[in-house]
């Protein structure tokens, strides 16, 4: 059997490329201050942890000035870690504001949310101020640069983190990992569904 013609392959490639164009819906809240890095390699790291394993402990500085340690929630709360790649970029800027209006969903599942990026505190301060008042702490994994992201295996080769979600139960065990395409915001229902499974 002969192979498909080159013209056919080109046409199909164009069709697929058109379908997969990254689309962004930037909020006017950020005005013209969002830097568009373009389409990035979807995933550029290798996980170093697995579901069912104890979550590596860490301590990071929050924007509020306090230090937060993962193990302080042991036996008290489920913990959702939301790594986003970088401040002032399109998809990241539209992710946490969504979580900010669903505190009740986290409360229902006895969970706290910790937002983490590898940006420094002043950058995170200025950026998150555009989102309104966040109910959850935002932590800086800036120095040693991306150390926590690296421990979990979500530090990319260019020094930013993946767009990743980890859910850690009250026993300190990782129950859910989502390392998605960095160019796409993960649907909220994926996170909510994973939280619901904690009860089972």
């Amino acid at each position: 059997m002969r192979r498909p013609g080159i013209g056919m392959i080109i046409l199909l490639s164009i069709s697929i490329a058109l379908m997969s164009t990254t689309a962004l819906a930037r909020s006017e809240a950020f005005k013209n201050n969002i830097y568009n890095p373009g389409h990035l390699k979807p995933v550029d790291s290798t996980l170093k942890v697995k579901v069912g394993e104890p979550a590596p402990d860490f301590t990071l500085l929050a924007i509020a000035g306090n230090q937060i340690t993962l193990s302080q929630f042991r036996g008290k709360k489920n913990v959702v870690l939301s790594f986003v790649p970088a401040a002032w970029t399109p998809v990241c800027s539209d992710q946490w504001p969504g979580y900010n209006i669903v505190k009740d969903l986290f409360d229902t599942h006895d969970a706290v949310l910790l937002g983490i990026t590898v940006d420094n505190i002043p950058t995170l301060f200025a950026w998150t101020n555009q989102m309104g008042e966040l109910w959850f702490p935002v932590l800086s994994d800036f120095w040693p640069h991306g150390a926590v992201a690296d421990t979990y295996g979500v530090l990319r080769s260019d020094g930013i983190s993946e767009r990743a979600i980890f859910i850690i139960d009250k026993g300190g065990i990782i129950r859910y990992i989502n390392v998605g395409d960095i160019n796409i915001r993960p649907p909220l229902e994926g996170l909510v569904g994973a939280l619901e499974k904690l009860r089972r």
Binding site: L11, I14, A23, A25, D94, P97
Partner: protein, 199 residues
Amino acid sequence: MSYTSKTIRMATLAMAYSLAFLATLSFATGPPQKGDVLPNISIPVTPRDADKDYLGLKGGEFFKIPQIKATVVIIEIFSMYCPYCQREAPEVSRLYTLIENNPALKGKIKLIGLGAGNTKFEVEVFRKNYTVPFPLFPDEDFAFHKGFGEVRTPYFIGVRINADGTHQVFYSKLGGFGGAEQFLQSVVQLSGLNKGGAQ
């Protein structure tokens, strides 16, 4: 059918598909402006009876905005993830209430929201959080958003629907609308509703 014929047929189909996709998106370089027509988008009908009644839709799985039973339609392109949209949501709902409580405007001006990049679940979260009383539609794959020129959110578009089925955009603006009363006054004036001619 020979392999060559099959290849040509498949290539033609692929090309037609690509062109259809391009036409759907319109690859708008910007949002529709005053005097323009809307991008040719088909929106899945919401299963909510209240929404169907409000929009005056008569069956079918999809509808186009000019098919809405109204003289003026205000389209808000929003996102559940947009802080500005969140802050303004109560005021937009108040706009709906102002219209519905005004016998001269009720039925003539309708509101819809298109959730750019939002899934059905996310749109429902937004509706529930802000008790949004008008129909909201998910736009998970950004198809509508692309058709409207990939605007930032929130973005408001006003369209006048004429008795003969034609329509024209009369309002197209990024960002907040500066208060429900002021915005409604602008809509009434710019659409020509204050000069009569309602459908």
